[in-house]
């Protein structure tokens, strides 16, 4: 076992390395490889990475055992930038249960999405380009997951943003896709500003306290070769304690809030969520990969990774909780009103991410269950949400429309897709024994046991809403009679798309059966008394949601419209997504562009440059004035010459005349 572990940990750099290789090969040699080959090559390389990740996880748990908090191992590292003493940043592979879990999820879902895309994207003109970007994204995401220090995380965080930018804007001739990709990049970029500032703060104060702490720890940090930005340093108990003392913990809270801003941007928390629904302009498998399973959970991952630090600042955790709870409710309510299948899923993702954040927020050293619950939900959600997106892709592929009201009756036309979609819907709705039930249950339990009853209430409400809108989607798409020609003539997708969905469907069922706490936990000791009311309440809420949606949407006449009409203004408000987009639009275009950028441009041309030109004009006017003296006639010149010469001579004579 030890040998296996040694060998695999030495090879761990291959996990992100293989997709990178794929990107380089496919990206540079796509003309040369041809479409088929480059697609398969990319898929195989990611598949290899997935195999490696699973094997690493297997040996890790085999070697270190399960149950406790697994050790953190930096399996491989390479110096990258040395800013100054103690701020030397290296690129490395950090292996611990959390990163292993996400590695497996990322590579696994990515492989399946690659496979699916082979079918879905067949015939697209940018086939190989698509796979190159997909590989690039997988590489970046893996780099983020394995980051042993904050800066590497930031680096790959940005790369993830860039590669998702390319993938969302994949159909680059479509203006809406271009706008969406731009929006996604800029919004997350804005959030990353917070991340960056947080890093600066942590680096500065971490640097200041390094020497003292190191002497306290009798040189342990130095001998371990730790640098300030390493997670191992930042999350070590002494550092956290010192941070808590520093200015009454204000610095820590500010830094964490800033970091959370970055996390909220990537994980699309309110009010930085606006990019995610628009990002559905990308190809559907991309949405499955990026906006369900991987990139959007990066924010959750960041908070989880820095959880020991967050544990040091209750107010930061409170913020995480509030934002998470609000987003989950907010997004769930919007999801009930949307008509675009992918947008519904996008808002559902938002809601589920809010759930995960909420769970992290309720966690604390005393009640750390939320940590496990959050990562557990991250794990299960990745599978069923990816499956939902892939299923949606399959449907869209068949119907050529995104609008659910164009669909209907697909249960018979597309039996496999229907079955898988149903499984995923049940999973997300939280019906036992599907995966979602277990993780949701744990989150609710964590909220209740940590004493946040109102959060528990929101959680319950969201669980009901989730079941409602997901089944609304399900009823309208699959069960109701077909409402368009395309839906009538729809047929099942090719096997290349079915197989990955099948795998995900199995995982969506079984993923919940894992006793997750044994594998991934925060390391804080705790006792939990299982409250049997929680699962009952949760599944009860789900059943009510399902039932209500059946009542509203399954009948001959859709009763929902009547409800919507009754709700009136409220419905419109929700339908228009609470006008958040419009507010942003107003702020950016009307305020920033009009009142900052344009005036700056004007100011530069008119005032600053004007002053320069004014001085130039003054000089020029002087020149023009002097120019009249330049008659070009030798006689004028000689006149001046004589005058001047005489003046000089005469003054010399006056000066030196010996009186």
């Amino acid at each position: 076992m030890e040998e296996n572990w040694k060998c695999l940990s030495e090879l761990s750099w291959l996990i992100p390395g293989l997709p990178l290789l794929g990107f380089v090969l496919v990206g540079l040699g796509r003309r040369w490889l041809g479409e088929k080959l480059s697609g398969w090559l990319a898929t195989l390389l990611v598949g290899g990475a997935a195999g490696l990740a699973v094997a690493t996880a297997w040996t890790y748990f085999g070697y270190f055992g399960i149950g406790g908090k697994g050790p953190t191992v930096v399996a491989w590292s390479l110096p990258w930038v040395s800013y100054q003493e103690l701020l030397k940043v290296s690129v490395g592979v950090l292996i611990d249960p959390l990163s292993l879990m996400l590695m497996v999820v990322v590579t696994g879902v990515s492989t399946l999405v690659h496979l699916y895309s082979l079918g879905y994207m067949a015939g697209d003109s940018g086939f190989s380009r698509y796979f190159a970007f997909l590989n690039l994204f997988t590489f970046s995401m893996l780099g983020l997951v394995i980051a042993p220090n904050l800066l590497q995380m930031f680096v790959f965080w940005e790369l993830v943003g860039a590669s998702s930018f390319f993938l969302i804007g994949f159909y680059y001739t479509k203006p809406s896709a271009v706008a969406a990709s731009k929006k996604a990049f800029i919004v997350t970029r804005f959030a990353d500003l917070g991340f960056l500032l947080g890093i600066l703060l942590l680096a500065y104060y971490g640097f200041l306290m390094f020497q003292d702490l190191d002497s306290l720890q009798s040189g342990a940090y130095t001998s371990a070769g730790l640098q300030v930005l390493d997670f191992e340093y930042l999350t070590s108990l002494a550092v956290v304690n010192r941070f808590m003392e520093l200015q009454g913990g204000t610095v820590l809270t500010v830094a964490l809030v800033l970091l959370f801003m970055g996390a909220a941007g990537k994980s699309a928390m309110f009010p930085l969520h606006i990019w995610l629904p628009d990002a559905m302009e990308g190809p559907t498998p991309v949405s499955a990969l990026i906006h369900a399973a991987t990139m959007v959970v990066a924010g959750v991952y960041l908070v989880a990774r820095l959880f020991p630090l967050f544990a040091g600042s209750p107010s930061a955790l409170e913020l995480v909780m509030v934002v998470g709870a609000f987003t989950s409710l907010f997004a769930a309510s919007i999801a009930c009103t949307q008509d675009d299948i992918k947008r519904i899923l996008a808002f559902s993702t938002l809601s589920q991410l809010g759930y995960m954040m909420l769970a992290l927020g309720v966690a604390s050293p005393a009640f750390p269950l939320g940590f496990t619950a959050s990562t557990f939900h991250l794990f299960t959600h990745a599978f069923f949400k990816a499956l939902l997106f892939l299923g949606a892709g399959s449907v869209i592929h068949a119907v050529h429309s995104n609008n659910i009201w164009d669909m209907g009756g697909l249960a018979k036309k597309m039996p496999f897709t229907h079955a898988f979609f149903l499984i995923a819907t049940l999973a997300i709705a939280g019906i036992p024994p599907f995966a979602g039930f277990y993780s949701k249950d744990e989150i609710l339990l964590a909220a209740l046991t940590s004493g946040h009853t109102w959060v528990f209430g929101i959680g319950l409400l969201v669980a009901g809403l989730t079941a409602f809108y997901m089944f609304r989607l399900y009823w309208v798409t699959f069960i109701r009679p077909p409402s368009s020609k395309a839906a009538e003539h729809a047929h099942e997708s090719p096997w290349l798309m079915i197989v990955p969905m099948n795998v995900l469907a199995i995982l969506s069922v079984v993923a919940g059966w894992v006793h997750f706490d044994d594998y991934v936990n925060s390391g804080f000791q705790y006792m939990v008394d299982h409250d049997s009311r929680v699962p009952l309440l949760a599944s009860g809420a789900a059943v009510i949601g399902i039932g209500w949606s059946a009542v509203l949407y399954l009948g001959q006449k859709v009763k929902a419209t009547a409800v919507a009409r009754a709700a009136g203004a409220l419905y419109r408000l929700i339908k228009r997504k609470f006008y958040v987009d419009e507010i942003y639009q107003f702020v950016t275009h009307q305020v920033i562009f009009r009142f900052i950028a344009s005036p700056v441009a004007w100011f530069d041309r008119q005032v600053v440059d004007g002053l320069m030109n004014l001085s130039a004009a003054a000089t020029r006017a002087m020149g023009v004035g002097l120019r009249t003296l330049q008659t070009g006639q030798i006689q004028t010149y000689s006149l001046w010459f004589i005058m001047g010469g005489m003046l000089v001579i005469f003054s010399i004579w006056i000066t030196f005349y010996p009186y």
Binding site: T631, G632, Q635
Partner: protein
């Protein structure tokens, strides 16, 4: 009469005033005249007065030496060269512009 004349023999000052008067007249010509040849002739007067000065100084300051005369010779030679070139330019100028009016020739202005 003769004594009076002898008593009022020109001194260095007189010679210099005479030469500067000639120079001033030449200068007036240079500044006032428009025809290039006239300007050149005025310049000749000025040069001539300068040579004149050299001889005067030779005579009154260092009558033993001949340096002033040598200088004067040089100036005459240079003046001759200058006249040659100047006149050649005038001929060419006249051939091109059909005028020797220096006020019409102002190529240096721009």
């Amino acid at each position: 009469m003769i004594d009076w004349l002898a008593a009022h023999a020109p001194t260095l000052k007189h010679w210099l005033i005479l030469s500067s008067a000639l120079f001033a007249i030449g200068l007036y010509g240079v500044l006032a005249r428009k025809n290039a040849i006239s300007v050149l002739m005025s310049i000749e007067i000025m040069l001539n007065s300068a040579v004149f000065n050299l001889i005067v100084f030779n005579r009154y300051i260092a009558p033993k030496g001949a340096d002033g005369q040598v200088f004067a010779l040089f100036v005459i030679a240079v003046a001759a060269a200058e006249v040659v070139v100047g006149l050649a330019i005038f001929v060419t100028l006249f051939n091109r512009r059909k005028t020797l009016d220096v006020t019409q020739v102002a190529a240096m202005k721009d």
